[in-house]
């Protein structure tokens, strides 16, 4: 059993707005209830007086609950701990202690205590509900079966119905949420419980349906005029739907109604950061910190804000036809000079592509932020370090990892930016009503179709899920992102969503994908939008999609084991340097599953083996097939570029190297070689960009970069700029002979 000595954070009365602010536990001691009533009605002073008296109670649990309600978390913690340690089989104190941990966001400790309670008494529904709440907080798939199990045991568990409704709302299952709320309301009426939580979720449901939640808000504020949690909860669902502006309005209202609702201040601060409103964000985060100095999310965000000066901001116009769009880049000063031209170029190209494809023109400045430290990015988007995302889009603000934050072989920053920019369009075109699956699906689809690494890349995990029939019905696809029920389901859901978009394009034409997107105006579910667009029921859509995807991947599905075998055999032969033995299995693996272009791709093995056997033309063909399929490994493509050069295909080699800037932009050798190639090819403007990047990257040896810029500018007719960089080159390296030769030529021409 646990002997926990963890320090709990100190919270103040009335500030503990989490998922549940009303305690519906029927085992709650009778003497607490009159105090609770004051609290639920917003009569703070009366509640405080009432709870204070109970601190003298002879019943430890009552004393602990009173201390908890008064914000003396340490005292409550101590009493619960003593109660648990004095009785190893005590269930209720354990469950209540776990609740305390849950409310203070210490989920692992809470889960351990709920599990201990269930070991003592496996059928304790409150322990089950508590554990389900932990899972729900972490968006883990076990939440649902556990809450269903608890409700089977006791259908009067208000909290069980509320938790179900909350998860339904998060997943967009609005009718199911309504049914759960009806069941909760029946119990609330029957047992005369405070209706605040039910009304709050009713308001959320109304809003999710595109209606006006005001009638429910009025009822809540009539019951408790200081119940800011209703606005915080409404904001939570808006944030879940990525409607950050709308959430901001609600969170501002929350802190107006209840100025000491520190969690709402914290959320408001984070949300304002998402929108790029930095100064006001800092004000609310500081307010949150003043009331709750222990919140890791608040502290992390404030720390990041303290270092905001390390980033430089630029704003540039992107002109596309008659339209001009503003792009703001927030890049770390140490790499902004290198990355800015490439980020700006790709952002501009994505705007050009998506305005044309989706018929939507951005109405505000698009902001792109790149973070060289992944934890800074994680804090920026979730206020917590350690999340596994690469990029996040908050409407017109894109935040993502910088290429320097990850190994070049595992991160193609250009594709990530392209993916995120597609979100800008799908979110803004639908006023953020697009469901998660479709927004992700279009982003993946656009990576495949128009991104910097075109090719339908589907990893083996997705093929395995397809084989095991784990793809979800389209109407439920959001749950695969929000509450995954098996490891890797989020990644599989990305792939399935992309494939659904591909299916729509192939079956009905690309225009219909845009038509489907426009269905989402806040009033339609996925099922309704599918029916309205394609005139078929979601079930029929699923059936056709299943046939499409099984047909597309029929070869690998029918031979998945064989593919694994061939892949393994090729890998082993490569490892043992038995090149000839690698060729046939690698060829077979490529033929069975050409879409596999990951690190252990058979395309790469085949190319390597062929090259080792001096079969260079075939090796080139193998790497070209890999590249066409969407492969982008910088090492492999640099090799291919070299081979193409040696084969006299200089132009293709140069173009291939240009593409490396979107995976490996911090490689000085690439910029140096590319600058020379582009100069030779007469592409002086592009060459200049490469030498500028080289100069920013290679501070140790600046002369070649200056010399390259001098030549590029000379080609572009900028004699003054050329002279300046030439002299800079020679000032750094006075004996640099090519630069000396050019200087003398320049003087000769002048005279």
């Amino acid at each position: 059993m646990m002997t926990r000595t963890a320090t709990l954070v100190l919270l103040l009365l009335g500030t503990t707005a989490g998922a549940q602010s009303i305690d519906y536990d029927p085992r709650r001691a009778v003497e607490l209830r009159s105090c609770d009533e004051h609290r639920y009605r917003g009569r703070t002073e009366q509640a405080r007086t009432c709870y204070t008296k109970l601190l003298e109670s002879q019943t430890p649990i009552v004393e602990a609950e009173a201390a908890w309600a008064l914000g003396d978390i340490q005292r409550a913690n101590q009493i619960f701990r003593d109660a648990v340690q004095s009785n190893e089989r005590a269930v209720q104190p354990r469950v209540r202690w776990a609740r305390l941990f849950l409310q203070t966001h210490q989920y692992s400790d809470a889960a351990d205590l709920f599990n201990e309670a269930l070991k003592v008494f496996p059928n304790d529904v409150h322990a089950k509900l508590g554990l389900a709440s932990v899972y729900a907080e972490r968006f883990e798939g076990q939440a649902r079966p556990l809450v269903e199990d608890a409700l089977k045991q006791d259908s009067d568990l208000v909290e069980g119905h509320l938790l179900t409704a909350s998860m339904d709302l998060e997943e967009g299952q609005l009718d199911d949420a309504e049914k759960a709320l009806d069941r909760a309301m029946r119990v609330v009426n029957k047992d005369k419980l405070p209706p605040l939580e039910v009304y709050t979720l009713r308001a959320s449901l109304e809003m999710s349906r595109g209606g006006n939640p005001d009638q429910w808000i009025k009822r809540i504020l009539d019951y408790n005029p200081r119940y800011g949690a209703v606005y915080q909860q409404l904001a939570h669902f808006e944030i879940m739907r990525r409607r950050y502006k709308e959430a901001t309005v609600l969170l501002r209202r929350a802190v107006e109604v209840q100025p000491d609702l520190w969690a709402a201040h914290a959320e408001l601060g984070s949300n304002l950061l998402r929108l790029g409103i930095v100064d006001e964000a800092r004000t609310h985060l500081q307010a949150a910190y003043s009331g709750d100095p222990y919140s890791p999310t608040t502290v992390n965000s404030l720390r990041l804000l303290d270092r905001i000066d390390e980033f430089s901001i630029s704003e540039d116009p992107v002109v596309i036809g008659p339209d001009t769009y503003q792009v703001r880049l927030r890049l770390h000063k140490k790499e902004s000079e290198i990355l800015r031209p490439y980020v700006l170029d790709l952002t501009g190209r994505s705007i050009q592509s998506f305005t044309q494809r989706y018929g939507f023109k951005p109405r505000e400045t698009v902001t792109v932020e790149l973070y060289p430290d992944h934890d800074d990015f994680a804090v920026r988007v979730a206020a917590l370090p350690g999340i596994g995302l690469l990029g996040v889009t908050f409407g017109y603000v894109v935040a993502m990892d910088s290429p320097s934050s990850r190994s070049t072989s595992e991160f193609h920053w250009g594709s990530t930016l392209w993916h995120e920019m597609a979100h800008v369009f799908t979110l803004e075109l639908t006023d953020h009503y697009v469901p998660r699956w479709l927004s992700e699906g279009i982003s993946v689809f656009e990576e495949w179709r128009t991104g910097p690494t075109p090719g339908v890349v589907v990893p083996p995990e997705a093929i395995a899920a397809l084989e095991k029939k784990q793809f979800l019905p389209v109407a439920d696809l959001d749950s695969g992102f929000i509450r995954p029920s098996y490891p890797g389901q989020v990644q599989v859901s990305y792939m399935q969503s992309g494939l659904v978009c591909l299916f729509i394009e192939q079956r009905w034409g690309f225009e219909q994908l845009g038509a489907l997107l426009r269905q989402f105006d806040g009033k339609r579910t996925t099922a309704q939008a599918i029916e309205a667009t394609f005139k078929i029921a979601p079930a029929a859509f699923d059936k056709e999609f299943d046939a499409f995807v099984r047909n597309r991947f029929q070869t690998v599905l029918a031979n998945f084991e064989d593919w694994q075998k061939q892949q393994g055999a090729a890998g082993q032969a490569i490892q043992k340097q038995r090149w000839a033995d690698a060729i046939e299995p690698a060829r077979r693996a490529v033929a069975l599953y050409p879409e596999h272009v990951g690190g252990d791709s058979p395309h790469l093995m085949l190319a390597k083996a062929l090259d080792k056997l001096n079969r260079r033309p075939e090796a080139i063909a193998a790497l070209e097939a890999y590249h066409r399929a969407g492969g982008w490994d910088p090492l492999a493509l640099r090799e291919l570029s070299r081979w193409l050069d040696e084969a006299g295909r200089a132009q293709e080699a140069t173009d291939l190297m240009v593409s490396l800037n979107y995976s490996d932009p911090l490689n000085a050798d690439v910029h140096s070689q590319l600058g020379e190639r582009l100069l030779t090819a007469g592409r002086a403007e592009e060459a200049l960009r490469e030498f500028q990047a080289l100069l920013a990257l290679n501070t140790l040896d600046e002369a070649p970069a200056h010399y390259g810029m001098a030549r590029a500018l000379r080609e572009m007719g900028d004699k003054a700029g050329s002279r300046r960089h030439l002299l800079d080159a020679l000032a750094t390296a006075p004996h640099f002979k090519p630069a000396q030769a050019l200087l003398l030529k320049m003087i000769e021409e002048r005279t």
Binding site: S405, P734, H735, A741
Partner: protein
């Protein structure tokens, strides 16, 4: 720049010219540079091979720089035993005098137990104290010691001495992971990548900056925590020439060139004066003055190249 460099019993004027190309300073005619490279115990075939190749690259560059194999000793594999190292140090000591320079390169694995550093060799290791004694016994006062092994940072303070430059691959004895520094040091001496002032001579300062930068970049590219941080102690590491490239290695014997090089030294001083005024001069004036000096330098270089036979690189 202060005096140096690669002059020995077998030295000819070509190498004297090359030295001036780097330094524009006259040297005591008897001074020579000796190089001793030891590749220690690899422990496994891949390391054995890597260390041997690195040692060969460093030794090869030193031979080119010295213009002779006589000034270079390299031990690797099973030959690099402690007694052999001691013996070769003695041989080396017997050849040199106080005006000579010596470059010692240690490649391989090292260890540090909190008190003693050990250079891992086949058979008994050599400790930092053993090695310090061997270095001290060399008559040459100008010493460049590159300890590229793991845990090499443990020795940097212990080996410090006037006129000695010590370079270590790690910042302390606590950095115990196999190092990458030697690989990039070998790269620095084998190509023009480290020659940042483009004079076709790689000095210890340039090689250190190059290798250090490469190590940092390698860890950064892998987004892995850096397990080594190189250090350098001692003044004016640029006085040590560790590689000569292109015409700097091939320049013929020609007294006229020496006169031209003296002129070039004067122009270089003019150049430095202009550069020093960069902050105080208006841009236009700075670049005009820079151009005037650099044109003079380029014209003179053309003359030198014509006499040496190197010619300008296209």
């Amino acid at each position: 720049m202060a005096a140096p460099i690669a002059l020995g019993a077998t030295v000819n004027e070509a190498r004297f010219i090359s030295a001036l190309l780097a330094t524009a300073c006259a040297l005591p005619a008897s001074a020579a540079t000796y190089t001793f490279v030891v590749a220690g115990l690899g422990g496994e075939p891949a390391y054995e091979q890597k260390f041997r190749e690195q040692a060969a690259a460093v030794a090869g560059a030193a031979e080119t720089a010295a213009g002779s194999t006589n000034n270079v000793i390299a031990l690797s594999g099973d030959a690099a035993r402690a007694d052999a190292v001691r013996r070769e140090f003695k041989t080396l000591a017997s050849r040199m005098n106080a005006n000579d320079s010596v470059v010692i390169v240690l490649i391989g694995h090292g260890s540090f137990d909190g008190e003693n550093y050990r250079f891992n060799l086949p058979g008994p290791d050599l400790t930092d104290t053993d090695l310090a004694r061997l270095f001290d016994e060399l008559p040459a006062r100008d010493q460049l010691i590159i300890n590229a092994t793991s845990a090499s940072g443990a020795v940097i303070e212990r080996w410090r001495k006037p006129k000695r430059v010590v370079i270590t691959a790690t910042k302390s004895g606590g950095e115990k992971t196999a190092t990458r520094f030697a690989q990039y040091w070998a790269e620095a001496v084998a190509s023009d990548a480290a020659d940042t002032n483009k004079d076709q001579i790689v000095t210890a300062a340039e090689a250190y900056a190059f290798a250090n930068g490469k190590v940092e970049a390698a860890f950064k590219a892998e987004t892995s925590m850096a397990t080594e941080h190189a250090r350098m102690e001692g003044d004016n590491s640029a006085r040590f020439t560790i590689a000569r490239l292109g015409t700097a290695a091939l320049a013929p014997d020609n007294p006229e060139v020496a006169a031209l090089l003296t002129q070039r030294g004067t122009i270089e001083q003019d150049l430095n004066r202009v550069k020093e005024q960069k902050a105080s001069l208006p841009d236009t004036q700075y670049y005009d003055q820079l151009e005037e000096v650099l044109v003079r330098l380029a014209l003179l270089q053309r003359e030198i190249d014509a006499k040496v036979g190197g010619g300008a690189t296209p």
